[in-house]
Amino acid sequence: MKIQWTWFLLILVMILSSACSTAAGPAETQPAPEIEDVRLILPYRPDVQFAPFYVGMKDGIFKRSGINLLIEHTQETDAVTLVGAGEVPFAVVSGEQVLLARAQGLPVVYVTAWYQDYPVGIAAPAESGIEGPQDLEGKQVGIPVLSGASYVGYRALLYEESLDPDSIYLDTIGYHQVELLLEGIEDAVVIYSANEPLQLEMMGMPVNVIRVSDYVSLASNGLITSEAMIEERPDLVRAMAAAFVTSIKKSMADTTYAFSACMEYVDGLDENTSSIQEKILQESTDFWEGETIGMSDPEAWQNMQDVLLEMELLSEPLSLEEAYTNEFLP
C-alpha cells in the first residue's frame, strides 16, 4: 500500500512538472520584443488608402514587431527632408522623391515597395473621345502641380509614347481636378487612378482613364528610411518592413476588414462617404498587387531615372543600388 501511494505520488509529481513546463513554454521561446515608439510620416492627411497601416495598428502587427507606430502627416517633400535629416525614421513617399532627394544630397533609401503599379492616370469625360495618350494632342490637360508623382507620371506617359509636351496645353490647377473637369474647364485632368475617377462617376460623369502603369513601369509609393537608420538600426528597419508587408497582405486579403480599420483612424467616414471610400480602397489594392509584396523592381527604378533625366530634373544618373534595397524584406 505504501509502495502504491509512493508510485502514485511520483507519477502525480511528474504530471504536474510536465504541465508547469508546458505552461512556461519551450526553453527556446524568445521573450516578447520591447515595444518602442516609432514615428512614421504619411503624406497629406489620414485616408483610406493608408489602410495597411491602420490594419497593422488595429491588429497589433506592428506591436508584435516591437513597434508602437506613431503616424504623422505632412507634405511629401517635407517628409523626405525630415527622414533625410534624421528627425523621423520612416516615411511613405513616391519613388521619384527618393531620386530627386538623393540628387540634392539627402541620404534617404527606399526599403519596401508598396504600390507595384504607378497610380497616376489621366481622366477625361467618356464622351470626349480621349481614350489614349495620342488623343491628348491639342487638348487642355489640368494637373495639380508641376512636381511630384502627378507631373512625373504625366511626363513619363508622354515620353513612353513619344508625345511632344508642347503639343498639349498643360494647366496647373491645384487639387481641383474633379471640379474643373465637371465644369468643362479642362479637357482632361491628371489624377490618382483609384480616387478621382470614382468621385467623378459618383457625380454623374463617367470617365475614360489612361493609366500610366499600362504604358510604363515606374517606382511608386513605398517606405523610406535614412542611411543612418540602416547603419545604426537595421533591426528596426527589418522589423518595420516585415510588419508593413504583413499589413499590406492582410489588407489585400480582406478589404472589408481593412476598411473597418480605417473607420478608427480616418475622420469623416460616415454613411454618406463610406460607400465611395470603400470603393477607392478596393481600387487602390489593384495597384499593390505584384509577384512579391514589398519587392522593388529594378526596371521600374531604371525607368524612373530615365524619365527624370529626360525631364531634366536630374542632371546626371545616380547610383540606383544606393537608392533602394530589398535587403530588409522578410
Binding site: T77, Q104, L106, Y151, T172, H176, I185
Partner: protein, 261 residues
C-alpha cells in the same frame, strides 16, 4: 532735468549711416558661419553663396524675371482692385452711419476667414488663371485700407467742418477740399500695409494653383529639394514687398509735403 530738446533728440536718435546695414551684415555673417561649420546640411540651410548662385542662374536664364513679372502683375492689379473697393466702401461707411451699422458686422466677419481657406474656393470659382490670384491679393488689401479710409475721413476735427459750413461749402467741396486731404495721412498708412499684404495674397494664390509666379517657383523648388532656389525666390519676394512699401512711402512724402512744411 533734461530739456525738451534733449528729450526729443533721445526719442529720435541719429543713426550713423554705416550702422544701418549692420543687422543685415551680422545676419549674413552668422549664416555663413553656420554653413561653413556644417552645423546644418545644405538641403536644410544652403550657404549664402549657393543662394546667390541660384539667384544669378535663374536671373540669367530669364526664369526669375518671367515669374517675377507674373507675380508683379497679380500684385499690382490686386492692389488696384483692393484699393478701389476699399476706398469706395470706406467712404460710404464713413459718411453714412446707417450703412456702417448695416455692413460692418459682415465686413468684419468676412475678414475672419483665413485666406488660405478661401483661396481654393476662388480657384474653383474663377479658374486657375491670373484672376483668382488677383482676387486673393485684393482680399488681403481690402480690410486695412477700408479701416484706414473710415478712420481717416472721420478724424477730421469737427471745428473744421463748422468752418467749411460757415464758408457755405457744398458737400462735394467739403469732401474734396477738407475730408480727402485730411484723411490722406491715415489713408496712405493703410495703403502701405495693403501694398505688402498684396504680395502675400498673390503668393498664397500661386501656392494653391498656378503655372507662373514666384509662389509657383517656390513650389517647384520644394519639389526638387532645391532649397537654395526657395531662398532665392523668397528674397526676391522680400525685395518686391519692400519696393512697394518704399514706393508708397515716397508717394506719401510727396503728397503730404504740405503737411510736413
Amino acid at each position: 532735468m533734461r530739456s525738451a530738446t534733449n528729450r526729443a533728440v533721445s526719442r529720435n536718435p541719429v543713426v550713423p549711416g554705416w550702422m544701418k546695414p549692420l543687422p543685415v551684415v551680422l545676419t549674413l555673417a552668422l549664416w555663413e558661419t553656420v554653413t561653413r561649420l556644417n552645423l546644418l546640411p545644405p538641403y536644410l540651410l544652403p550657404s549664402p553663396e549657393a543662394v546667390a548662385q541660384r539667384l544669378f542662374q535663374t536671373a540669367q536664364s530669364g526664369l526669375l524675371f518671367q515669374h517675377l513679372a507674373a507675380t508683379l502683375q497679380e500684385v499690382l492689379l490686386g492692389l488696384a482692385l483692393g484699393l478701389a473697393a476699399a476706398t469706395g466702401l470706406g467712404t460710404l461707411l464713413a459718411k453714412s452711419p446707417v450703412a456702417e451699422k448695416l455692413l460692418s458686422p459682415y465686413i468684419v466677419a468676412s475678414q475672419s476667414i483665413p485666406t488660405v481657406a478661401i483661396a481654393p474656393l476662388l480657384v474653383i470659382w474663377f479658374g486657375p488663371g491670373r484672376l483668382s490670384k488677383i482676387l486673393i491679393s485684393s482680399l488681403l488689401v481690402f480690410f486695412p485700407v477700408l479701416v484706414n479710409t473710415v478712420v481717416g475721413i472721420r478724424s477730421v476735427p469737427e471745428d473744421l467742418h463748422d468752418l467749411m459750413r460757415i464758408l457755405k461749402a457744398s458737400p462735394w467741396q467739403i469732401f474734396t477740399r477738407l475730408e480727402l486731404p485730411a484723411a490722406l495721412p491715415v489713408y496712405l498708412g493703410g495703403v502701405r500695409v495693403g501694398a505688402t499684404l498684396s504680395v502675400i495674397g498673390a503668393v498664397v494664390g500661386e501656392f494653391v494653383g498656378a503655372d507662373e509666379g514666384l509662389g509657383f517657383l517656390i513650389n517647384v523648388a520644394r519639389g526638387m529639394y532645391d532649397t537654395a532656389l526657395v531662398f532665392a525666390a523668397v528674397f526676391v519676394l522680400i525685395a518686391l514687398a519692400l519696393s512697394l512699401y518704399g514706393l508708397v512711402s515716397l508717394i506719401e512724402r510727396r503728397v503730404l509735403s504740405w503737411q510736413l512744411n
